[in-house]
Amino acid sequence: MTETQARPTGVAPRLVGTSVPRKEDLALLTGTARFVDDIRLPGMVHARILRSDVAHARVRTVDTAPALEVPGVLDAMAGAELVGKVKPWGDLMQDLLVGDHFPFATDKVLYQGQELAAVVAETPHQAWDGCEAVRVELEELPAVVDPEEALSPTAPLIQEQILYEFGEGNVFDRYKVRVGDFAAAEAEAAVVVRQRFATNKQAGAALEPHGCVADYDSFTGVLTLYSSTQSIYMVRDVLADVLQIPRTKVRVLVPAVGAGFGSKAQIFAHEVIASLFSMRLGRPVKLMLPRADVFRAGTTRNAQVHYAELAMAADGTITGYRDYIVHNTGAMSVWGNQVVHIGTNVGMLPYAIPNVHVDSDIVHTTTAPGGPLRGFGIPQAIWVKEQLVDMAARELGLDPLAVRERNVIDPAEFPYRTPMGHVIDSTSIKRCLQTCADAIGWDAPRAPYEGKGLAVSMKYTSARHPSLDTDLSAVRLRLETDGTVTIYSSDVSHGQGHATMLAQIVADGLGVGIEKVSLAPPDSMTAPFGLGTYASRGAAVLGTACRLATQRLRDKVLAIAAHVLEVAPEDLDTGNDRVFVKGLPDTGIYLEIIAATAAYRTHQLPPGFEPTLEAVATYDTPTEREAPDGRGNLSVTYSGAAHAAHVRVDPDTGRITVLDYAMAHDTGTVINPLIVEGQHHGGFAMGLGMVLSEDYVYDEQGRLLNASFKDYLAVTATDVPELSKTVEIPAPSTMIPGGQKGAGESGTGPVPAAIGNAVFDATGIRFTTLPITPQRMLVALREKERRGVETLRYPDDMPDFRGPRQHTDWPSPVASDADLDLDFDWEDD
């Protein structure tokens, strides 16, 4: 796993590849890390948002005047007064002509939890009193919770203000893939398996709620926003645009962040509201979201309905995949439509499927906004495709392991381009598959009610998003005058351990002790422009920028040392905080001296050397834009993941226990195995929640029934089995200079499918909907016993199932191939 490289004796061993304990941990473990809610600025006041309790309604009145009478209340606002003064947003990432987001609902409420008004007061409780005093009249409209109902011509229209490309209706966007010829593959296949699958709406459930402190300086006109976010520049740029002020007048700073998982990867209304209040009052304003608000108004994993088909030849070769995906993006969503693009494109891996035909209708419902969440559509795609693989293997009487061994990418030569367009620069996925299957004893007989399941995936390492043609990160380094190094980056670390990972890269590259390297907090006034932390991009994209900046800084250091020592730079090396002549590591000049020289004794510098020691580097991945047929190499490299699950089902309670779980990953060159293993374990836990317990439960009026950690069944430590079988089989990336690949999300993708397949193996029940709760499990078992059948689909074979049970009854895509006909009217269809 460690890059082996000859190095001079006496030089500290390389840190990249070693489990350096995280620099972040001491503060986190001792409770001294400072989060947004720990910020207390002089004169700070507190805001609270009044949110709609109904899901879909016409706004008749929002009268904030009574709130102003409440003791302690300083100001209040609602939507109407802001129209024409602040700019809607949402267009940047969605390719919309105009934004669909606004700080408050103005004429319509689109989901429960949408902002109606806000109040700012001396204390949080007075602000709450003020919210209670706001007079609201809403005229409730029918809710649309089910994404397939949203497609019906008779469904209530949700977004009335926006004219979409596809005419009136709840279709927000469409997506399609046309690779090869699925119809031909279907005709020639030995078997075509078909199944409808529905995935769940999972919460980000970051422990730290969303929140911010806005601090407007009325003298300089600079608005400083401290926020719990994953991306300072996306927040800054959108916020400045919304407020119509120059970007130089908005400064976004991020203290410690208690995770995001994708749920903090955009700007939110509360950040705009706090800013507006601070600008109006000239005082710092804190706005922390209560947990229920985070559930209702944060972003969630997009729920999807798939009508999926997989064609397989008699020898087990996968020859085609067809899918119609109804993608629920909630009432509005900044990133939501992107999830189906990338989730599908990358979700076809780790197979090189020659014929792929996918249509997707991306619809609005009156539910919480959908968006990115650990895996960005891939866990959904893998849940569907990997179960179809098992179904096809069983129909052909083949071993699911053997079928996967036959199909996973294992080319004779790299780079290898798949029919879908991915350029695979390296992979060990086949060995990962065999290793994890062996680890749980795939071939051993199963006890009653026990079963084993496999799933494989490949996760992108960052991505060029179809509607955002960029994939860059940047690092600036400064060798300080005492020989310490400061790293500036705008890619917020919210659990990824950037302070450690980047310091390892710098320490190795510059020969400086890791204790001398620090990461500055993300600050848009000082950090170089970067996109933020999401999409498993930290180690590979930000890490590469850091590596480049380190090389540039090293070159400068060597130039000074060469001048002082009167040798050629090529004859010098670095290590132990020194620059020395190669082979003489115990001599040389301390970096401290060189740095001080560059700043304070500039006449000693080489002629023409520009003083001070800073270096900046930006890395934009050499990725492709998505082609109209869905093809494209959207990601610079891909991390393989093969998972094997061994489960037991309690036939009396329906509880599913994961007895054993093996994960074999290819994360390329691992910078810090401790961090990467932690990411895999956390990724597994989120996958476990997705498959066994987590979901947004709505009633028919669109009210969320489980908006608290008491009722929302997020996974906890005791639910996670011993994950002692987590191994890396590295195939270093050849695209990324250091060989690393993304780590943060590969642990999630295969989990639902591996466990779903294991549950089928244990019980003969194929779950086609998520999550597989004990309730569903037991009711399905009883139904199976009642019927005396060998296998059963849940819920498709249940007596009260209302959806299409057979392939012949499946709906066709609303979009189909008629996309380009702008007059297309589906009412006549």
Binding site: T653, G654, S693, D719, P774, Q775, R776, V779, R782
Partner: protein, 278 residues
């Protein structure tokens, strides 16, 4: 939360007087593990909180001459877990040690759980299951009620506004030979979806003389199921399912019915299989 006045009486009489003096706006607070959560969300907003923390008589466990175990209402789960109790009464410690999480057990009390009367909590099920008696102090004096009469409906008890639950009295050891408790919950700290208690008394030669089965979680208050003392798990489970009358055919109800069946079968079979006073 809304502002409130914090009162710390040192005797039960004083506490009762405070409840009376401040009327509807006054609430008893024991561990606060139910009440504070509701106050935080502004679901309730008492003007006065009468804390039981300083009333020393209300916390702790004593044994009456007849062997009845008197558990102060303000005894925390943590204290119950540490107590060394004889025979089947030990089940109280085990139940207290296997609910919620450590911070909640350090504060939450047996009396608070009974007064909260949440059908999914463990102590109401256990108290009805072993036929405990609840002691109450009020302005009108003292009274006692069997646990199943104390629990009136989900979230509702027989307590008057100015009454305080002072103790939970477990019957003397000879009342039961074996007590078994089982529950089903999603996560380790979640309240139970369903729970069941089996209390079994045998005659001298070991023949079952009395079998008390209690089912909770699935119904608004714990349900005592009448069965023949010799009933085995399967038979008792059938009776229990009939008794809880979960007739609706929706999936959640069907599931509760199944759980009641499973849990009752398990507690009864386990009870019959155990010997001595356990």
């Amino acid at each position: 939360m809304r502002p409130f006045t914090w009162l710390t009486p040192e005797t039960t009489e004083e506490a009762v007087a405070l409840l009376r003096a401040h009327g509807e706006g006054a609430r008893v607070i024991a561990g606060g593990q139910t009440l504070l959560l509701a106050m935080k969300e502004r679901l309730v907003g008492p003007s006065h909180l009468v804390s039981l923390a300083r009333i020393t008589d209300l916390a702790g466990i004593t044994t009456e001459p007849d062997g009845a175990l008197v558990v102060g209402a303000a005894t925390t789960y943590a204290a119950l877990t540490r107590a060394e109790l004889p025979g089947w009464q030990r089940r109280l410690s085990e139940v207290a040690g296997d609910l919620a999480d450590r911070p909640v057990r350090n504060r939450g009390t047996i009396g608070g759980a009974l007064c909260a009367a949440d059908p999914r909590f463990d102590m109401p099920a256990f108290a009805v299951g072993v036929d405990a008696e609840l002691r109450i102090s009020g302005a009108a004096g003292e009274r006692a009620l069997p646990a199943h009469e104390f629990l009136v409906d989900a979230g509702r008890t027989a307590l008057g506004q100015d009454e305080i639950l002072t103790a939970v009295v477990l019957p003397p050891l000879p009342t039961w030979d074996v007590v078994v408790f089982e529950k089903f919950r999603h996560r380790v700290f979640d309240a139970a979806i369903a729970s069941a208690v089996c209390a079994l008394r045998r005659e001298d030669h070991g023949v079952p003389a009395s079998l008390r089965i209690t089912v909770a979680g699935a119904t608004p208050t714990p349900t005592v199921v009448l069965v023949d003392a010799a009933a085995d798990g399967a038979a008792a489970a059938e009776s229990a399912v009939a008794a809880v009358r979960l007739d609706s055919s929706d999936e959640a109800t069907r599931y509760r019915r199944e759980l009641v069946h499973t849990l009752v079968r398990r507690v009864v079979d386990r009870a019959h299989a155990q010997q001595g006073s356990v």
